[in-house]
Each structure stands twice: as C-alpha cells, then as structure tokens.
C-alpha cells in the first residue's frame, strides 16, 4: 500500500480565529504575543483576574470584562446579570469586596427595546444581590449587522479585604484544591438553546455573585492562598494557569469533581468534556491542608457554594502540569484546552 504523507502546516495564524477567544492555549498566545508585549508592567504581568493597586494605603482591585454571549436571554440568566456577576466575581477572586461598577453598552440598530429593558432589569437585580452600585456608563449604537444585538462591558472596582496576596504565586505544595459546586451548567445551558443545536436539557446557567462565599472564608479567618472563577475554559484551564504560574503540580481526582448527572449526560451526548465547559458562578480555592474541613464547612453554609468539594492537592514539582486520577484509577495529564472544544463526529 502506498504511504502518502500529510500536507505542510498552514501558515502561522494571520487572522483572529474564534479559538483566540476560547480561553485556552490560543488565547494565552494572543495575550502573550500581542497584549503583554505591548502593555507590560508589574501589575498586568501577574496575570490575575484583576489588578490589585495601592492608593494612599488603600488596596483596590480593578477588573474589566466584555460580554458577547448569544443568545442574550438564556435559561437561568441574561447577558445583563452575567456581566454584573462576572465582574463582581473577578473582584472577589482578588479577595476584594465589590465597591462600584461601570456599564458600557454597544447596541445594534433594531434591537427590541423590550429585550434591552429585560437585560437592564436583570442587571439591576444582580447588582442589588451583590450589593454594588452601577455608578457610570456609556452607550453606543452600531449599524444593523455590525453587532450581535448587544455587547456589554462592565468594569469593577473593589476594596481588597484579603490580609495577604491572593493569587497563583501564593499557592504552596500541600495546599488543597476546593471546587465550589457542580460544574458545567452555564456552558450547557447556553449550548442547549443556541441556534442550530437541537438539544434541550433542563439545565439552568449557574450565573451568580460569588462574593458572599469568598467573604465568608475571610471572615472565618481561613488562610486563602488563591481563588479563580471557572469561566472560559472551565476547571482545566484555571488549574493549568495556576500550576504554570506557581510552578507546582496540581493533581485532581475525577470522582471528587462535582458534576451533575444532567451536565455529564449532556456532555456525553455532545462529545464535550465538562472540565472544559464554562461556569459563571463557580470557583476554585486553594487553602492549606489544615484548613480544608473548616473551609468546606464555611463554603457549604453559603447557598452559592453549597456543593463545595475537595477535588485535589498541590505537589512540589516545577513541571507546572495538572494531572487527573481517572475514575478507573489511572493517571493522565489534564491539559489546557486547545482551540474551541468541538463536538465529535460519532
């Protein structure tokens, strides 16, 4: 039989691909090769969810996020409460109490006023739950066809209450990895209603503000080393980023990672891995082994983290990789997402 060979690689990406926004390897390459090289400074280079700044002795956290979700309304939420919760959560992951938000709207000509009102009402409700005012804003309208109904940016400022630096650089060998609840509901809720995809499961987005859970940890005096919300790229990408910055190895146990049967079932059907699916109301926390039971007790007392579980451990090993002990007892690397997660053919 003739052995033919495969073609030459395509040239280096000269255009933005969707995968550049997927939260995986290409996103990281984009950040490193374009943004960090241009804007590099010590705060940005720490690559945390938000920037922690000192102003006259007060430690402030600042973060910004832009929302382009489609559809605008989905089971369990809207782009509006997603934008409020997402920015509140990025502040919370810096150990900061949300202080004020801005909102920037890019509206597409022809958007139904009723849809906008629904979205704004959900923002108002989410801001109230998170106890944070929206103090400034901006509106632009673009021609029909130049925006997907509505794009939304929120920027948040918070006051850091964490006594020590919360971030990957504070993670230590021996730390325990806590996951705040069942994973994957947001991504599957969006997929289930997205145009062209005939899958309907009773899955609601997990979008929620996480500050109450984080605040409870600090108020109880838990020594929190690192927090990360599990948005784009899911648990796998978050753990890989942390392991890589901390230059430590993280191991997780597949059976200990909380995932609902509905999400597991949907992922099985769609050929997706729930460990890469986005969440909007879940986070991972790193605490010393001695604090695990107390921290879990605190988290489980809060509605938003009632399903918290200990899922793994940090080890001394500069490889910066994440490994998973599978359900059947074997070990493998848990890699960062490459490109978009795509459904399999069969």
């Amino acid at each position: 039989m003739a052995i033919l060979s495969c073609p030459l690689p395509r040239p280096a990406t000269d255009r933005i691909l969707l995968a550049h926004g997927g939260g995986g390897r290409l996103t990281n390459q984009l950040i490193e090769s374009v943004f960090l090289s241009a804007f590099s400074n010590p705060v940005l280079d720490s690559r945390h969810d938000g920037a922690v700044l000192s102003a006259n002795g007060v430690r402030l956290a600042m973060t910004t996020d832009t929302y382009v979700v489609h559809p605008l309304l989905f089971p369990g939420g809207t782009i509006g409460d997603l934008a409020v919760n997402g920015t509140v959560n990025d502040l919370a992951m810096c150990g900061a109490r949300p202080f004020a938000l801005s909102a920037g709207f890019v509206l597409e000509e022809g958007l139904a006023m009723e849809t906008l009102r629904t979205i704004v009402a959900s923002m108002q409700a989410a801001a109230k739950v998170a106890n944070v005012p929206i103090v400034t804003g901006d509106t632009k309208v673009v021609d029909k066809g130049k925006g997907d109904g509505l794009f939304l940016n929120t920027t948040g400022v918070g006051v850091v209450v964490a006594p020590k630096t919360v971030g990957p650089e504070s993670v230590r060998a021996g730390d325990a990895v806590l996951v705040s609840g069942e994973l994957g509901a947001h991504g599957i809720a969006i997929l289930s209603v997205r145009e062209g995809l005939e899958f309907e499961g009773p899955v609601r987005s997990d979008t929620a503000p996480l500050w109450s859970a984080v605040e409870a940890l600090f108020e109880a005096g838990i020594e929190v080393h690192c927090l990360r919300d599990l948005t784009r790229g899911g648990l796998s990408s978050a753990l890989n980023e942390i392991a890589s910055v901390a230059r430590l190895r993280i191991t997780v146990d597949e059976v200990a990672i909380p995932i609902s049967d509905v999400v597991r079932g949907a992922c099985e059907l769609l050929g997706l891995d729930p460990l890469y699916v986005a969440n909007e109301g879940r986070f991972v926390g790193f605490v010393p082994e001695s604090e695990v039971d107390h921290a879990l007790e605190i988290l489980r007392s809060q509605a938003v983290s009632a399903g918290a579980m200990r899922a793994g451990t940090v080890h001394e090993d500069s490889s910066g990789i994440v490994t998973l002990r599978s359900r059947v007892g074997c070990h493998r690397v848990l890699d960062m997402l490459s490109g978009e997660q795509l459904p399999r053919i069969c």
């Binding site: 495969c6 395509r10 099985e268 769609l270 059947v328 070990h331 690397v333 890699d335 459904p343 053919i345």
Partner: protein, 376 residues
C-alpha cells in the same frame, strides 16, 4: 449515570485487568479500530492496567483523520463561494487542507456552520431558499445512515438548494489493507462497536478466517475495552481466530437492517483515497445515480490548487498501527493541536491529539505520567 457508571466502575475495571494479566503468557499486539476507543484508552490510561506483554496500537477509525486533503480543499473552495452555506460536523473545521482549514475559511468570511445532524442541514436549506446549502458528509458506517437519510429526505421533499460533499469510508476494507501490508504487526482487532451496531458483524467472518485473526466487536467504555482485550487474548492464547461480540448490549449480528437499506438505497460502494494511506479499492461510498444531483462535487465547479506534501508527518504509519504518535519526531514540537502537521493531531479521536492532551509524550509513552504519579 445509568449505562455509563457501571462500565467505569473502579473495582470491576481492576478485576477485569487482573483477569487479563493472569491469562496472558505471550506478547500480543492488538489494534483497536475506532478513534473513539483510542480516546477512551488514552484518556483513562487503560494501557497502564494491562500487562507489558500486551501492546495496543491505534487504528484508522477516525473519520477526520482519514478524510483526504483534497476533500478539505474542495470543502474550503466551495465554502468560499458567496451563495454557499457549508455545514459540517465540528471536528472537521480544524483539519488543515493544503492551504486553509474550514476554520480559516470561516475567519475570512465564509459561511461555515457546525451542525450535530445532517438533517439539520435540510432545515438550514429550507429556511435559506436563496442560498446553496452544502453538507460535508464524512465518516464511517456509523454516520452513513443519517447522511443517507438527509439525501433521501431532500429528494422526497425536492429541496433543490441542498447538496452533499461526500467522503464516506468503510471499515472492513481498511482492516484488510492493514492485514495485507507486509509490515503488519496486528495480531487481533477490537472492532468498532458503533460501526457494527449499524452493519452487524457478518462481514468480519471472511477477514478473520482469511488472515487468521481474532476480531471482537467492542464497546467504548473502559470495562468494554478491557473485556474486548480479555476476549481476544483468550483467543490468541488458545490459537483460535473467531469473530465474537463483546458489545452485545448494542450490537446484533445482523445489525440495523432499516439503516442498512437506507444506506444501500442512497449510496454505492466506490474506491476512496485515505489520507496518509492512499487509495483503497471498494473502501468508500458515493451517491447513487438517482441521488447524483445532490453531489456537491458535480454541482460546484471549483479549482483546487497544487498540494504541497510534507515528508515529516507519519500519519499513514500511525493510522496503520506501524508507529505510535510519540515516535514521530515532530510530535509535540513542530506538530501540536494548535499547529497540526496532520489530521490525527486535530480530532479528539485522533491518536496523536489524544497522546498530546493526555500526556503520553515521550519515547516510552509514559514519562510525563511517571513524573506525575510519583508521590501520589
């Protein structure tokens, strides 16, 4: 989750692995045919549970991996026409053509859509009557019934603006091609369970007899795969070469007759080129005369340019089980899922991508894992 958890059960898996270890006295090389099986094996680390004497090699059953580069080039060229909406299974979008992938075409403005079912392409065609909707119909016998159904429905409803770019391949001719190669080292097969769910397994009897190889129709969960291994090893150790069915909860000997009838009504057998392997006679499907007007290749006259070939990618050897992915000099360095040299590094069912993602990266296939598990 019912029908899954019992096949991933820790103690059942460990017990089955122990049975295999006890029953293995000689070295054996076994090929799992389907990319979905490769994915489970590598993802769950099943090879680590098997005795060193058993080598699993990964077969050609990854539809993305074996679709020839010319087909990708056709799809890209068709997608670039302004009147066309090109619909595809998601996995195909990242496969490099000679110049572009469908993802690149999409980024350059082509209307490329990911669908879960070919029947959804008919809906797209109905709701976009002024556009030409093309479905990229790839895969093995598993996807053939649904693709046949789409063409059959399109004919029944007389949907004029629908066509299919067909690149269908068949498993048994590929198994024969592997067995008849002088370098073949495969001694037994785990046949692809879902292919057999459609086709049954009578067509494997002559292969098993002619080449004296055990063939066990096998499922996709860890316990399925271990049981499949146990069954082929039992045959090998006792000198038998038979066709057996491990995946009896899904596969009947006669397969799914209505699905077979629909395939035969719409498609006929033809020769196909396999990416990295070459032309295999009678190894594919094309639309029959009565459905030929749905053939996108004849509907759209597109030019595809000269194809540059790389000598570096060993996809053909990997797909025939002659090399393991990590034995490729480009593996993980010049060839990664972000910058694939060949298709097996693209699809989640591709052996190279599975090795890359799940950490089987070094010569012994295990060194990152041995670092990783030390101290646990």
């Amino acid at each position: 989750m019912k029908f899954l958890d019992e096949y991933r059960d820790y103690s059942a898996v460990q017990k089955m692995a122990q049975t295999i270890r006890r029953g293995t006295t000689l070295p054996w090389t076994i090929m799992e045919v389907c990319g979905g099986q490769t994915y489970t094996i590598v993802k769950t680390g099943l090879q680590d549970l098997l005795p060193d004497k058993i080598t699993l090699v990964h077969g050609p059953g990854c539809p993305v991996c074996v679709t020839p580069v010319a087909m990708i080039d056709y799809a890209v060229a068709i997608a670039q026409r302004p009147e066309v909406i090109l619909c595809s299974f998601g996995d195909m979008l990242r496969v490099p053509g000679s110049m572009q992938s469908l993802f690149d075409a999409k980024a350059s403005g082509a209307d490329v859509r990911i669908l879960y079912s070919p029947l959804d392409a008919l809906k797209v065609a109905r709701s976009n009557p002024k556009r030409e909707v093309v479905f990229f119909a790839v895969g093995f016998e598993t996807t053939a019934p649904a693709n046949a159904m789409a063409a059959w429905e399109a004919k029944r409803e007389n949907i004029q603006n629908f066509s299919m770019l067909v690149s269908h391949v068949l498993v048994p001719p590929a198994m024969e091609a592997i067995l008849s190669s002088p370098d073949c080292r495969v001694q037994a097969f785990l046949a692809a369970g879902h292919v057999c769910m459609v086709m049954g397994f009578d067509e494997y009897l002559p292969i098993s007899q002619k080449y004296r190889v055990p063939i066990v129709v096998t499922g996709f969960e860890p316990l399925d795969l271990l049981e499949g291994v146990r069954m082929v090893v039992a045959q090998l150790e006792s000198g038998r070469a038979e066709v057996e069915n491990q995946y009896a909860r899904a596969v009947r000997r006669s397969g799914n007759r209505p699905a077979q009838h629909r395939i035969a009504e719409v498609f006929e057998v033809t020769g196909r080129a396999w990416r990295g392997i070459g032309e295999i006679p009678s190894s594919g499907l094309r639309l029959r005369e009565a459905y030929r007007h749905f053939d996108a290749e004849s509907r759209f006259e597109v030019e595809i340019g000269h194809r540059e070939e790389s000598s570096e990618c060993i996809a053909g050897l990997v797909l025939q089980g002659l090399r393991k992915p990590h034995q490729c000099p480009a593996f993980g360095t010049r060839c990664t899922p972000d910058r694939p040299l060949g298709a097996p590094m693209v699809s989640s069912e591709g052996a190279c991508a599975a090795y890359f993602h799940f950490g089987r990266r070094k010569e012994d296939g295990n060194s990152i894992l041995s670092i990783a598990t030390a101290g646990d």
